[in-house]
């Protein structure tokens, strides 16, 4: 069985600092980390591989070449193959263009199932899995919190989905795109101490657009139908503190505050 896991590396949002004087979010020098939902998907795949060694896992990402070290780390976590789709022309692609680039690669790739995260942390979106599913004409489902292991091997995956009000179980014929949520608690294992410096270069491929050959009018900023024209900092203000007594006046103050901020 061949599993392709799509992964994305996103800035570690928690590390963002805020410059109160200039009122800007400082995004430079922030470490990239594997998108948490994607890590869960990979974690599931590695768990399946541990029990069923014949499972082959390929991790695929699209991004600048500075993700190479992190993809190498994914290989050191016992993933079999890593593929980086990277080309200067891809820079600025929106989710539509990105889906077409990844879709182009997957059209020719060999797989029984594609696993992704449900949600991407940097954009707060969940678009790529759905767009890719349409591009590849596959079933897709998000917010998976459990995948039945044997059913995967039987090519009819049983998945448990956490929709807002219900817990649902679906049967989905493979190939399909299964998008795992963080609530699944599938955990991506770490690189073991002895493997920290393992040479994995022979299992890592970088594919540029010369070989992938996506129509250059359909990629990058110019190939993207949506464009960010402006970013607005959220107005963080340092707090002004009020100290009141526990008397009628104090309660008035608290009530006024709750009212003003919409808690009542």
């Amino acid at each position: 069985m061949k599993i392709i896991c799509l992964v994305k590396f996103t800035p570690d949002v928690d590390q963002f600092q805020y410059d109160y004087e200039k009122n800007i979010l400082i995004r430079e020098n922030v470490k990239l980390v594997i998108n948490p939902d994607d890590a869960c998907a990979l974690g599931f795949a590695l768990g399946l591989k541990k029990k069923t060694p014949e499972v082959v896992i390929e991790a695929v990402t699209m991004g600048p070449l500075n993700v190479t070290a992190m993809m190498a780390d994914i290989l050191r976590r016992k993933v079999d193959l890593a593929t980086i789709l990277s080309d200067r022309q891809y820079v600025g692609s929106d989710t539509y263009a990105t889906s077409r680039i990844i879709g182009k690669y997957l059209e020719t790739a060999d797989y029984d199932v594609i696993l992704t995260g449900s949600h991407s942390r940097d954009g707060d979106t969940a678009q790529i899995p759905g767009q890719l599913a349409e591009y590849l004409k596959l079933n897709q489902i998000s917010q998976i919190r459990k995948i039945d292991q044997p059913s995967m091997l039987n090519k009819r995956a049983l998945v448990e989905v956490d929709s807002e009000k219900y817990l649902e179980t679906y049967e989905i014929p493979l190939p399909a795109i299964l998008s795992v949520g963080r609530e699944s608690n599938y955990r991506l294992p770490f690189v073991r101490y002895d493997d920290l410096d393992l040479d994995v270069s022979d299992r890592l491929r970088i594919i540029d657009n010369d070989s992938l050959a996506v129509d250059s009018k359909k990629i990058g900023l110019k190939g993207s139908p949506t464009k960010v024209i402006k970013s607005y900092p959220i107005d963080y203000q340092k707090k002004e503190q009020v100290i009141v007594k526990n008397d009628d006046q104090g309660i008035d103050m608290v009530m006024a505050f709750l009212e003003k901020e919409g808690y009542l």
Binding site: Y96, D124, V161, A176, P225, T226, Y232, K245
Partner: protein
């Protein structure tokens, strides 16, 4: 000519879908026609506020069948040539909207929180990025309709008309077998998690004896109670509601810290809390340094006073 907007109508989210009319209004003023698309409705008569209703009755079409719903909506697009497609960002909507966008070869802006309509007719959609640390203004400059998804409750339908829509015939032309099926659907037990509560009323050592009373205040504010380690250690509350390093990391908008000292281990569990009210007899307690309002005094007494006041207010309304 009037702009045409398509809304995907999920019956159990009716009011939230109706709220999306406000999005159209902010884009086009009153110059638009609204079309709601509903699949296998139980009762079309309760659907109101839209100009037209595309009611599809086809028992082969399941509510989770995204491939065929996408085909249906693409066919409608073909017929009506909508200028905008607006989808509520529910579990279904979040899967449907990117698929439909790809089918229609258009861009999609997800989870918008505001709209700016520029004088030249450009629609700027604003959405949060980086877990809400930044807002991005996005335009759609491709061909085809402007597509967006909106989280429930972000916009409010200001006009709330009871307009009865005109029902239009609509039928899916070709259906394909996706092979996917739903095996079970269980309603989730209503066990709320303090990590999901917008308001947390949290107690510490200062309300050890009166911890039970916090619930009244939490209810009055529509929130939940949470506890510091002191409370959990004294068996006054379960560890599932403990905030802090050895408990949960929470991010409510409002955190009311009652008799909580605020050791770093506790504060480590407070992530991006928007407003904090600290009630403590000791205003030198570290927690007070984080508060918008510090109330100096007995926390249990504060709970009684504030709860009474809120409930009086409610009755007066």
């Amino acid at each position: 000519m009037k702009k045409k907007c398509l809304f995907f109508y999920e019956e159990d989210q009716g009011n939230y879908v109706k709220d999306l009319l406000e999005v159209a209004r902010q884009m086009y003023g009153e110059n638009f026609e609204s079309y709601a698309l509903v699949i296998n409705p139980l009762d079309v008569n309760v659907i109101s506020g839209f100009d037209y209703l595309l009611a599809v009755k086809d028992q082969r079409l399941k509510d989770y069948d995204l491939i065929n719903i996408t085909s249906l909506m693409a066919e409608c697009q073909q017929v009506y040539q909508f200028d905008a497609v607006i989808v509520l960002a529910t579990q279904l909507g979040r899967m449907l909207s990117p698929r439909l966008a790809m089918r229609l070869h258009v861009g999609l802006v997800a989870d918008i929180t505001a709209i700016k309509s520029h004088p030249d007719g450009t629609i700027e959609m604003i959405r949060p990025a980086f877990e809400g640390k930044l807002l991005a203004g996005i335009i759609n400059d491709g061909d085809g309709p402007t597509m967006m998804s909106v989280r429930p409750g972000v916009f409010l339908d200001q006009q709330s008309t009871a307009k009865i829509p005109e029902v239009l015939a609509c039928q899916l032309q070709t259906i394909e077998d996706t092979g996917m099926r739903r095996i079970s659907q269980i309603r989730k037990p209503d066990s709320r998690d303090i990590r999901e509560s917008r308001v947390l009323v949290a107690g510490g050592g200062g309300v050890l004896k009166d911890f039970d009373q916090l619930d009244q205040l939490a209810q009055a504010l529509g929130g939940m109670t949470a506890a510091s380690r002191r409370i959990v250690d004294s068996n006054k509350a379960d560890r599932t509601i403990q905030v802090g390093q050895s408990g949960k990391t929470v991010h409510p908008e409002l955190y009311i810290a009652l008799g909580i000292y605020g050791a770093l281990q506790h504060v480590a569990g407070l992530n991006k809390v928007k407003h904090l009210i600290a009630v403590n007899t000791n205003i030198k307690a570290p927690i007070c340094s984080l508060a918008d309002i510090v109330v100096e005094g007995d926390a249990a007494e504060f709970v009684r006073k504030l709860t009474t006041r809120i409930n009086e207010n409610k009755q007066a309304e």
